[in-house]
Symmetry: C2
Subunit: 271 residues, 2 copies
Amino acid sequence: MERVAICGVGLMGGSFALGLRRAGFKGSIVGVSSERTIAEAVELGVVERGVTLEEAAATADLVYLAQPIFKILEAIPALGKMLGPQATVTDAGSTKGQIVAAMRAHLPAGQFVGGHPMAGTESRGVRGADGGLFRGRTYVLTAEHWLRGWVEKMGARVVILGAEEHDRAVAYTSHLTQLVATALAGTVTQALRGEEIQVSGPGLIDTTRLAQSSYDVWRDILVTNREEVDGALGAMIARLEGMRASLGENEREFAEGAELRRRLVRSVTLG
Amino acid sequence: MERVAICGVGLMGGSFALGLRRAGFKGSIVGVSSERTIAEAVELGVVERGVTLEEAAATADLVYLAQPIFKILEAIPALGKMLGPQATVTDAGSTKGQIVAAMRAHLPAGQFVGGHPMAGTESRGVRGADGGLFRGRTYVLTAEHWLRGWVEKMGARVVILGAEEHDRAVAYTSHLTQLVATALAGTVTQALRGEEIQVSGPGLIDTTRLAQSSYDVWRDILVTNREEVDGALGAMIARLEGMRASLGENEREFAEGAELRRRLVRSVTLG
């Protein structure tokens, strides 16, 4: 790999570029973004210069799609018409089903792999880019691929998972978790006046931290993973209804909830 | 105040005793607990010696009830039969309605005030006691009382709130928050196998932190605040159903959720 093109030089794309450098990548890194973003990214040393999608497709060994999901879905058919034989296309989208289906439909076999770096997204834009963003985080690839080596050099833990299995898992671990934090925070907002919120401990702050997420990012995620998220919400609502119907006799539900913490610890320890 | 008796020398009672010392209290602190707990508490320098509830009621200026809620509800009528005219009774129970009603029914007017220190309870027992546990935390008193001075010397932020208002507020900020974390963790546990849980980011860990709470503590809370918790669960379920019915069009819910974060920051800043 000698030439990398980042499409969408924001937090994720910029962090991938800086992470590659930190991992020892010596080749060229160019960007496809708005003129303003490219100027910022060049100033910050994230990319060398801006190029068109056409130039990226013709010359890059790796085309890294780090735009919002619907922009990625737009870029793939365009790339399909001009991709050189040297190029691998990958992406950083939070859902994989529609993106990998579009890759299969429009890109040559063997020239793409879906990706999902599971790193924080509270800050936005290339100014928040951080070469250590993926360190210690899970990075899903939808198939075994030579890209794995570079991702591991950035300190990420690679998990290989098919697009459908990925989307079902993140419907619970990420999308349901976001919606629950948002719904809890909204429920408290509606029920209590400002001064009543003082009557709270640290639990409320931790449990609703995600509620500050921007809806911009989430709209695309929810629309492209609607069925799985609907199923996860249904399971969550059924569980809350069950607890509500037996309030004060919830020993089993508390035990099942605590089990997740043990699994998470085990997963991190063994991972 | 010269003599303090702590009933139930565990995490909360022990932390109150150590906090009083750190705040400059020079009088005696004794404990009412099992023989084994008293031995541990004396060894740790948390209390001077063990006494009976009868001795505590007859001699202490402050009787601090830090047992589980139903033990507090048992102790109050017993205290009523033997309380000396010098004594104020307070408590550290997480719900206030039934406890303050029992105080009103069994203790002389002007000799009690309900309390709720909103501090962490992950560790249990007197070995976890910490003189700084209440520092920076909210401490609810159900009426203005001289005890406020000591609590503020411990670094806590005192909020005066009637028992019913308290129980409604904590139904949302604490009890609903706990049940949502427990239900989310249980839903994920039921849906995903161990290795699929690797496909997660830091959001799941924060949002389900409370799921490791012990049910022992929560049973009493849920039983003594059943109506308010039922209402809060109903509001949460309705909100999740609303989001589910309009997946991908949730801008309003995200904005309402984010509003809580702003209110929490403002409440902490001004508090």
